[in-house]
Symmetry: C2
Subunit: 731 residues, 2 copies
Amino acid sequence: TENANDDVENEGSHPKLILTKQGVDNIRKNLGNVPIFDKTLADTKAEVDAEIELGILVPIPKDLSGGYTHERHKKNFIIIQKAGVLFQILNDEKYANYVKDMLFAYAKLYPTLPVHPQTRSYARGKIFWQCLNDSNWLVYSAQAYDCVYDWLSKEERETLEKDLFIPFAKFISEGNPQFFNRVHNHSTWGNVAVGMIALVMDNDELLDNALNGLKTDNLNTGMRDNDGGFIKVEGLRLGFFGNLDEPFSPDGYYNEGPYYQRYAMYPFLIFAEALHNVKPELKIFEYKDGVLLKGVDALLNLSDADGDFFPLNDGQKGMSYYTAALVSAVDIAYKFGGENPELLSIAKKQDRVVLDDTGLAIAIGIKEGLEKPFTKKSVNLSDGKKGDEGGVGILRSDNLELVYKYASHGSSHGHYDKLSFSLHEKGNEVLQDYGLARFVNIEQKGGGNYLKENQTWAKQTIAHNTITVNEESHFEGKFEIGTKHHSDLYFYDDKNPNIQILSAAEVNAYPGTEMLRTLALIKDEDFERPFTIDLFKIKSDSKKQYDLPYYYLGHIMKTNFEFETYDQLNPLGKKNGYQHLWKEASGKPATDNTVFSWKNKDLFYTLTTASNANDELILARIGANDPEYNLRKEPSFIIRRKNTQNTTFASVIESHGSYSSVSELALNAYSSITNLKIVLDTEAYTAVEIITKKNTTKIFIISNKDNSTDKNHIIKIGNKEYNWKGSYYYK
Amino acid sequence: TENANDDVENEGSHPKLILTKQGVDNIRKNLGNVPIFDKTLADTKAEVDAEIELGILVPIPKDLSGGYTHERHKKNFIIIQKAGVLFQILNDEKYANYVKDMLFAYAKLYPTLPVHPQTRSYARGKIFWQCLNDSNWLVYSAQAYDCVYDWLSKEERETLEKDLFIPFAKFISEGNPQFFNRVHNHSTWGNVAVGMIALVMDNDELLDNALNGLKTDNLNTGMRDNDGGFIKVEGLRLGFFGNLDEPFSPDGYYNEGPYYQRYAMYPFLIFAEALHNVKPELKIFEYKDGVLLKGVDALLNLSDADGDFFPLNDGQKGMSYYTAALVSAVDIAYKFGGENPELLSIAKKQDRVVLDDTGLAIAIGIKEGLEKPFTKKSVNLSDGKKGDEGGVGILRSDNLELVYKYASHGSSHGHYDKLSFSLHEKGNEVLQDYGLARFVNIEQKGGGNYLKENQTWAKQTIAHNTITVNEESHFEGKFEIGTKHHSDLYFYDDKNPNIQILSAAEVNAYPGTEMLRTLALIKDEDFERPFTIDLFKIKSDSKKQYDLPYYYLGHIMKTNFEFETYDQLNPLGKKNGYQHLWKEASGKPATDNTVFSWKNKDLFYTLTTASNANDELILARIGANDPEYNLRKEPSFIIRRKNTQNTTFASVIESHGSYSSVSELALNAYSSITNLKIVLDTEAYTAVEIITKKNTTKIFIISNKDNSTDKNHIIKIGNKEYNWKGSYYYK
Ligand SMILES: [Ca+2]
Ligand SMILES: [Ca+2]
Ligand SMILES: [Ca+2]
Ligand SMILES: [Mg+2]
Ligand SMILES: [Mg+2]
Ligand SMILES: [Mg+2]
Ligand SMILES: [Mg+2]
């Protein structure tokens, strides 16, 4: 029978899922002595008490996200999870009663509900407009139920399970295989929701579905979800294990990027903690060589100096490691990952913990002063299940962070941005990645959902700091093609602390055109701060137009070329994102170097690039064909090289000087470069010479065809011979 | 003879100017016991020691500001002033020698110098391109000289005075009467420079010129300076006293606005301190009812929540009370203004003090924990020598600050912005005042000087949140006309803590058109935060076009009207600033209310305005006709009412809700208003009715012709009677 699991063995064993009996004892013993834990407890109590005052509000589902019923139901599951924890820690039945009343209100409502009236989703829920949010509900409510399980009577449990939990779990799994039986962050939530309630109820059938997926689903290959992602792909492992296997690379990089990894991290880790507690024999934290804990480390490394995640793919800017999902991720990684003291410094900044064993452990660690700074170094994170589908590299040097994306497509949230990069200094964007075209949960802006400009602008190649060929996006902007390919690492080298370098190739984005881009952050005594070298080499089977934009943020200070601004503005093109750029100005190079400098916040930046005489230099601004003002009207500097077959773009981006609007002093406001020149460019080698204001000469050489670290190279440029080992040379 | 002043009485009396013998004793006794003073001393020592290492660098003058020679000479005078102080406090001859060597290098160079080679200024200096900077040099160098005066030999002093100080003082005064004999912040520096060195040398003739101006100057009325300001105005008192009398109102408001007041504050106060020390009989701090100390208070009140000065007139944004001039202003005001403990909290934020008696006093106050918060309340500052030339009001309520400008023109730095306002929340701009078109001291941008767009854009009426009639600026954009007029206060009332209100009239900007604008910040329980009411009543002799822009900052969320965006952008007009606005979109009101909402940082804002059916609603963006990218490309919402004689614009601006990109929660994202209506608009009264989402009705009535506080009004609107005393009613 459905309640066969409610046996004597299961009764009396709760809480066991996240809180444990022993953990609760331990917490109670420490109360009042662990500041961050105590503070979080007090905040949580205040929050829950205020909601208890309001009473039980379980409205008939009606709205999309941002609307009342959506937000109310969301609040409910968040609060009962907390109330359950408070009942355990404070032993005050007020909280147990609140959980019970809430769950019974849902048990009464749920059997009466049809699918949600809003029809936008490919997998409509009952409480919410999409099964994803119903799954969120169950992940939290399962924890609440676990906390009051033993306190409830057998009859009460039977009612809740029969009327609510079991049909709820079945609806989001068997009832929606297109949602549940898939490799996708949505499905992870579904799997975990079913798994969590299965562990509480000790229901093996549901647990098996959660871990391994449904045995049968009757889904057709080729079905798509709302974001255009494929629903069924043959041969994939499914369920929680499948969602661990597929999207995570061996380095812990999640193929949709950090914004979605952050979202997925909570179900992954909370379920891992539950499995660790209830099914320790699965050794879940050791699964796939410890990929869950590596994922936390990767995610923290995918944030800038002040903790904001780099907005790769469909990432909304401003999401950071201060989000609740990362509080639990950090706490869990600390407790189950060997108590790495660097995590304490992140937890201290977060200034709150999870109210369980993991949060207690980390709060005690902070109290005992064990923390060490979390030092972010350069890191190269492979993408792909086996780590062989490109990756994302973050080069770091002093206050600069360069994010280089040469990954696979990134599932349905991927952008057509092969070999693109963004540059950050002290947590501020210098050369931005636009991010997504969406205002998450802001109802006025398209219901808080993806806006059409996400497709027409944000995903397009021209929206990124990489090359667009012939005004067409990579892979013709087609998901079916893009998702089959990835860029490839050529080499990554962070061994020399003064030269952090990554080179990667892309040969599929434009059939017949091969691209090799090398980006390095170089520290050199003749420059005030580390500079970026950007070498973009293209080999093509015919003549093309190449557009290389730099989405600088800030105010233009000076250019060394003349440009014409227009009396009338027109869009730069008609499609593939070009229709969203106003062409503000255009010019020609004044010399064989083009110098473009700007100020962003209080720092100066200069881009120096080797120009061809026929290059067109375009100043553009985002915002054309934007009838609802969905886009940010930000600027771009675009280098356009027409009617060219093989070519190399060679540039240096310097960060220099400063301006204070309080002292009104401008320091080192000019570039340190007097000339930059490609002095050699063959199939085998490319070399760039930089002459500085101190009249010193720097040379950077890359071996284009041989990336082995122990190969000796000897070449002559002019009458000077260079001799080195490995894939690049700089001096 | 020229050195007659170097008598026995004068020798042995130094330092006496800013530092005094007794002050130095006192400082030495307290060393090591007053944290902020000790810290400032250590910082200063480190800074000066580093410069001493570099040696004496006195290059031949050549560059404009931002260039090497300019910045080097500027550094020199700043450092020798500090070195002089260090010599006195630390009694280490290394510092005296440095001052001496530097002064002798100048004494050698100065007699050889022609006027500065750069010809841009109406009053070229010798060390710098303008006398203004030469005066800066002397203000600081006089202090350095004072510190080493007694330590130098008589012969050394004679050389310095004969070759350097006396000719220097004469050049910037007699040699440049167009600079020196004038009421202007430049002249204040000139007067003070001459006055400071006169006090050190005990030279009565120079002191008299400094205090009262040159007796003869041979200047013609009608001469203009580089900014277009008049040089000679008949009948003005000149010299330091003249510069105290004329530009300061009795409330301490300085007619050019806070950015220039900040710049002038240093010479005003440092010279006042010197006069207080050397000529106590002048009772300078009591002059004009204590205007100097009132000026400090006014200036602090002209800053936003985080200390940034409101950018009235030619103010550069970001200048704040953290600037060095305000450190000395606050220290001096504390010591000579009755040790107001609220100033301690500002000094504590500044975290540094002046190294003299005043800085010691304030540092001791902080050490003793005497500080009280500097609470900024609403304030109405009159403008004009006698306080009868309009003014600037700052309305404050919770985190909101509304700056309402109804002042006189503001001298050569004034803008054509009668009855304009800006709105700030938590130190952020919500409805901005553009400020100036200049990048002060950034050489790449027009040498760091005023850009031509300052005239063509920043000063124009359409660049401000006020009404432009027939696309012409106030006073035809002519300084000669504008400078003759000022707006007039109608009433100001801050007595009701829930209603802070200011109403002012302008009848000269457009002859034949009378304007009365009333702005209020109202706290009402039916609104989440205080809202702004904006009533702009116009009476004209004929039909006109009225444009009322709101320079919102942030991203548009939603409008209740349809608008058309364009495939091609054109400027909004041809002149008077309109040529700098792109017309991005245009629409018509959908109903008798127009609702426009936006998000700025993490808060939502909504403007609700009563519309006429024929209004045009324009979305514009700054940046057209900007060939050098000198302007910030920021947006505007413009209400255009054509072909209208008398009319009233009635609007409410709400601040509401919040959005967090970490929690992704949008709270209270919509306006609380369902309808806003002008229910009465006669010569005598204007009444606005606001209906809220809670279905409550608010009414605001203003008496347009009688502003007396004790007048009883009884009027009937519809069938309801209103009965109140004073100039306005709100309930
Ligand atoms: Ca970023
Ligand atoms: Ca401000
Ligand atoms: Ca202004
Ligand atoms: Mg992107
Ligand atoms: Mg950041
Ligand atoms: Mg501010
Ligand atoms: Mg202005």
